[in-house]
C-alpha cells in the first residue's frame, strides 16, 4: 500500500498502518544505522528510537516530502544524536589529524586484493558526520541527491560536494 495512505490511516488512529510501515522500512533503517554508528547492537537501538519517534511525531509529517525521506531524516538525526553521546565517552580522532597523502595505486590494489572490506567500514566511521551520511545514502541506499539534500539539509550541490569530499577523504585514509 502507498506510504501516504498508510500515514493518513495511522494519523487517523489505525495502528496496523504503523505496523506496516515498520515492516516495510525497518531493514533499510537498520542497514543505514549499521553503517552510520558502526555497531550492530547500537544500530538496533537507533532503529527502535527512530520508529518510536515516528510514532510520536507523525502529526509533524506534512507530506511536503515523501514519508521515506522524512523517515530517513529522523533516522539520520537519531544516529547523529547517538554519535554525539558516544563521542563524549570516547573521543574519535578527527579526520583533520590524518596526514594528507595521495594513495598509491598499489596500496589500493592491495586493499582490493586482500578484500579488506572491514577497513572500509572503519574508514567511513572516521568521516565527518555529514559526509558520512551523504556517502551512505548515495552509495548504499541509492537515493538521489535531491532526496539526500532533503534528508541532511542544504542544497543538491552541497550534497554533491559532500559526496565528492567523502570520496576524497576515503582515498586519503585508505592510502595512509
Amino acid at each position: 500500500m502507498n506510504d501516504l495512505i498508510l500515514v493518513e490511516k495511522f494519523k487517523g488512529g489505525d495502528r496496523t498502518a504503523f505496523k506496516e510501515l515498520v515492516l516495510k522500512y525497518q531493514k533499510e533503517i537498520y542497514f543505514l544505522a549499521c553503517r552510520m554508528v558502526f555497531n550492530k547492537e547500537d544500530a538496533a537501538d537507533v532503529v527502535q528510537e527512530t520508529f518510536v519517534q515516528v510514532f510520536r511525531k507523525i502529526h509533524q509529517f506534512r507530506s511536503a516530502s515523501t514519508f521515506k525521506t522524512w523517515l530517513y531524516r529522523v533516522a539520520i538525526n537519531r544516529c547523529k544524536n547517538f554519535l554525539r553521546v558516544l563521542k563524549k565517552n570516547r573521543e574519535l580522532a578527527p579526520i583533520e589529524n590524518y596526514a594528507v597523502t595521495d594513495p598509491k595505486d598499489s596500496q589500493l590494489d592491495l586493499l582490493l586484493k586482500n578484500e579488506r572490506v572491514d577497513l572500509i567500514g572503519e574508514t567511513i566511521e572516521k568521516l565527518p558526520k555529514k559526509q558520512k551520511a551523504v556517502l551512505i545514502l548515495r552509495t548504499y541506499h541509492e537515493l538521489s541527491y535531491k532526496e539526500i539534500a532533503e534528508i541532511v539539509g542544504g542544497s543538491v550541490n552541497s550534497a554533491k560536494v559532500n559526496f565528492y569530499h567523502a570520496i576524497e577523504n576515503i582515498k586519503r585514509l585508505v592510502g595512509k
Binding site: V22, Q26, K27, F31, A44, V47, V52, G121, K160, K171
Partner: protein, 209 residues
Amino acid sequence: MNCKTIKKRFLTDYVEGNLELDQKTLVEDHLANCLQCREHFGEIQRIASLLKSYTVADPGEVFWDGLTSKIYSRVNKKKPAQKKPWEILQEWMTWKRLVYTATPVLLILLLLFPAHHFYQSHFSELTSQENVLTVEEIGNEFLLIDEYLIQMPANQLEKFVQKMAWLILSPEVLAWPEYFDGLGLGTDEEIFQMRKQNLDLLAKRLHEV
C-alpha cells in the same frame, strides 16, 4: 573546462552515469586529454567499487521479528514522565537560539537605558518638587513670600493684598512655626518672632500704601 570543475562538479556524477549526453561528452573529451584527471577518475572508480564491497550481513528473520516486537512494545508503553521545565529549557537553549533571543532583549535594554536616563534628568526632579515638599521647603517659601511682599512696589502690593491678604495675615498662618523646624534658623519662638517682625513690617508698608 578546467580540472577542478571536472573533479568537483562532474566526476562523481560521471562515475555513477548521471550526466546528460552533452556533459558526458565534455567530461570524456577532458579525460582523453588530461592524464591527471584520468588517473583521478580511475581512483574514484576503484573507491566506488571498494565501497560497494562493504556489505552488512542480513541478521535473519529471528532478529527482524525481535526488532519489530521491541518497537511495538516501546510504542505501546505509556509516554515517559513529563519533562521538568528546566529540562525543556536546557534542551531548547542552544547557542544559536540563545543569540537569537538575547539580541532583541539587549537591543531593547540599550534603547530603554537612554530613555530612562533622559526621563530621570528631565522629569524626576520636577516630579519630586511637585509631590514631595519638605517642611524645610515650606518654611523657606513662607520666608521668601514675606521678603518678596516687603519689597513689592506699592501699587502691586495693594492689588495683591486685596486678593491674598486673608491668607498671609491670617492668625492661623502666623501660628505655624512648626513649618520652620529644621531650618536651623533658631528655636520655634525665635522663628515665630522673626516671622511676626516681617509681617509687622508688611503691615507698616500696607499702612503707608
